[in-house]
């Protein structure tokens, strides 16, 4: 076993971890646009263009409906889809980037002693930062062209927190697995597509056949999307069971991911 007593105070240690987290998060956010002319503006412009696209395609062309609100309009559908996609993208991008987070930084694994758990954490923080910008735009759209914000919006943090836990756990889990099985990068994009269609982004669970619901009701992502859309956006009655289930699933994935990462990180240096 190896032991090292650098013995800075616990407080100092936390301060350093926070510094590292901040630096790597800022970097991950900047990395997206470094070198482009508009730079950080893209963090806002990108989701803005996406929002415009969804509002015009779903609100004006397809004229789809969730059939939850009796007086549902085109903008309602478009903003609902947009919100669902923001949450879906969080999971999809986690799946896409997580397996390469560790193997993409061999220097930090093999050449220095680095708190590696910080790398998935920083990448996930950057993803969430961008998602929050999109969310603000989504809520602005709801305020301006939708039916306005309801009291249900207060539920949003409680509804999204389990998703934060879920994506963090997934990030650690997949980052660690990616070190040992590079093949995982091949499977995950397909999984991403499955999540898209299984998470009620474009439909309401009420429209599902009973057989499909029997399976999909176990998908915590579906409940998060539905709760965010119907409770937070439309102020519909909230299902405490579904909310509790998302918390349970999020916590389970978080604990499992953190445990697996901790258990395996000591052998990362040998694998790269």
């Amino acid at each position: 076993m190896a032991e090292s007593t650098a013995s800075p105070s616990l407080w100092n240690n936390l301060a350093i971890k926070r510094d590292l987290w901040w630096q790597f998060t800022v970097r991950a956010v900047e990395m997206r646009h470094r070198g482009s002319y508009l730079g950080f503006a893209w963090s806002v412009l990108n989701p803005l263009m996406m929002a415009a696209l969804y509002v015009s395609v779903f609100g004006l062309i397809f004229r789809g409906r969730f059939h939850v609100l009796p007086d549902e309009t085109g903008p309602d559908f478009a903003i609902g889809v947009f919100l669902g996609l923001i949450l879906f993208h969080l999971v999809a991008e986690t799946l896409a980037i997580a397996p390469t987070i560790i193997i993409g930084q061999p220097n930090l694994v093999k050449k220095v002693v680095f708190p590696l758990e910080m790398l998935p954490l920083a990448q996930l923080s950057a993803l969430w930062f961008h998602a929050m910008i999109s969310l603000v735009l989504c809520l602005l759209a709801q305020l301006i062209i939708g039916r306005g914000l309801s009291i249900g919006i207060l539920w949003l943090p409680v509804i999204l927190a389990p998703l934060l836990l879920l994506t963090l756990g997934l990030g650690w889990l997949l980052a660690a697995i990616g070190v040992f099985f590079r093949d995982i990068g091949q499977i995950l994009p397909v999984l991403g597509q499955i999540v898209l269609w299984a998470s009620a982004v474009f439909y309401s669970p009420g429209a599902l056949p009973a057989a499909a619901w029997a399976v999909l009701k176990w998908n915590p992502m579906l409940h998060t999307v539905v709760l965010a859309r119907e409770t937070a956006l439309w102020n519909q009655p909230m299902s405490p069971t579904h909310l509790a289930y998302t918390w349970l699933a999020g916590a389970a994935v978080f604990v499992a991911g953190a445990w697996f990462f901790r258990a395996t990180k000591r052998s990362f240096a040998e694998e790269l």
Partner: protein
């Protein structure tokens, strides 16, 4: 912390790398091990499953169990051929690799320069990377605010500090990495080959800074193929060979033994008959009588080509080991081939009182080729050396070996003797000094 408390302790430290025959073997082994754990310990199926799991890999022993302690203020040079386990040992000390057996304990902040710009993010500026490296080394950003100016000052890369690191030359990257590593006041500084990239001024600056850090009580672990640098900087040497700790002692001793390590791939010389005259018995007898090799301080090598005896003759033709400054002394070597030697070579070294190598040359440098020697053949060589060096005591090193197949500057030692002497270079106290410094170089003057 007391001055004698060990700052690095390695006990039976060992590292093996698991090499999988096939990527899928790893998954298979994990499943087989899992299946094996379902059976009771010592049962037949369990052993069989474990055996098939083990068939998917072999273990490569990079570092065999070794123990040592390093104390505060020591400067330890680790030398060894490529693949001797040096880098693995450094990674174990730095805490990057986990040992497979034994334990390693370190105390204090470790600043490791394992590779050029490791831990640098190429997309970000030098300044940003300095802060990043600082946090990696355990310094909060407010502490780095205090250190950033000395670091930028030391790196001395000008405006580039605010440019992305990807635009740096390798020399600039090394300067910055080194500046961070030495300016954060490490307790243990680990340097691996990193100094070879900079120009001579920066290298000198690095060496001076390392000496300052050492004087401040820090500990240095230094790995380099530059054996002169190891001897210059280090107070202690560790010689690794094929994962084993061959020697733990003075740097000079380690360097000597290092050069005596004959590569396993050394070509076996074909028997060849020499064409030179046999050594006269009376010359041989005189040499044995005044032999200096027997009183040498250390000797290494397998002696395929052996230095049987060596004598020193001053300009007065006596064997007194005194020579006036500027005069010539003759070093005579009696060599014997104990097995056929195809391309024999021999040389001498002159070391000053502090063991600094002043001069070294031999048959390859003198462009003097020796005939192939058959087993049992002897040969006499005279090296006439002009002692154009400052007055004082010197020792000689002698070596006999073979030229390597890979070029004029390769080869290996069969017999290497150091600490021969001392030889005193004298000067008439009333005469003006002919020069100052370690040695006289050709110098002329004229009206321009």
């Amino acid at each position: 912390m007391s001055a004698t408390k060990p700052i690095i302790v390695a006990q039976e430290l060992a590292k093996a790398y698991r090499i999988w025959r096939h990527p899928s073997a790893r998954a298979k082994a994990a499943l087989l091990d899992l299946a094996a754990s379902a059976f009771p310990r010592g049962s037949g199926p369990r052993a069989a499953l474990a055996r098939s799991a083990a068939a998917g890999y072999r273990d490569f022993q990079a570092v065999l169990p070794l123990s040592f302690e390093v104390r505060r203020g020591e400067a330890v040079g680790i030398i060894g051929r490529n693949g001797s386990g040096k880098s693995t040992l450094l990674q174990l000390i730095a805490g990057i690799l986990q040992p497979t057996a034994g334990r390693i304990a370190t105390h204090g902040r470790i600043s490791a320069l394992l590779e050029l710009g490791s831990g640098f993010n190429p997309e970000f500026t030098g300044r940003e990377n300095v802060y990043l490296n600082g946090s990696i080394l355990g310094l909060a950003s407010r502490e780095m605010d205090r250190l950033i100016d000395p670091i930028i000052d030391f790196a001395d890369i000008g405006e580039f500090i605010d440019e992305p690191v990807k635009t740096y030359s390798s020399g600039m990257m090394m300067r910055l990495a080194f500046a961070v590593a030495v300016c954060v006041q490490p307790d243990i500084l680990i340097v691996d080959e990193a100094l070879s990239v900079g120009d001579v001024f920066f290298t000198q600056k690095c060496f001076n800074r390392i000496r300052e850090i050492l004087a401040g009580g820090a500990t240095l672990i230094f790995v380099s193929h530059d054996t002169a640098a190891v001897q210059n900087l280090c107070t202690r040497g560790l010689l690794l060979h094929q994962g084993k700790l061959l020697h733990d002692g003075t740097p000079e001793e380690c360097v000597t033994r290092y050069f005596a390590l004959v590569p396993r791939s050394a070509p076996a010389a074909k028997p060849a008959a020499g064409t030179h005259a046999p050594v006269r018995p009376e010359a041989r007898a005189e040499m044995v009588q005044h032999d200096l090799v027997a009183m040498a301080r250390s000797r290494h090598g397998e002696r395929q080509l052996e230095i049987v005896a060596a004598t020193f003759t001053n300009p007065l033709d006596t064997h007194d080991r005194e020579v006036p400054l500027g005069a010539r002394g003759t070093i005579r070597l009696l060599l014997r081939a104990n097995q056929p030697v195809l391309h024999p070579a021999a040389g001498i070294q002159l070391f000053d009182r502090m063991s600094n190598l002043i001069f070294s040359a031999g048959t390859p440098q003198l462009n003097f080729s020796l005939p192939p020697l058959a087993a049992g053949q002897e040969i006499l060589l005279d090296f006439r050396l002009g002692f154009d060096v400052q007055p004082g005591e010197y020792t000689l090193g002698l070596d006999a070996g073979e030229l390597g197949p890979e070029g004029p500057n390769t080869g290996f030692f069969h017999d290497r003797v150091t600490g021969v002497g001392p030889i005193t270079v004298t000067i008439d106290a009333h005469a003006p000094f002919p020069f100052f410094g370690a040695a006289r170089l050709p110098l002329e003057i004229s009206h321009a």
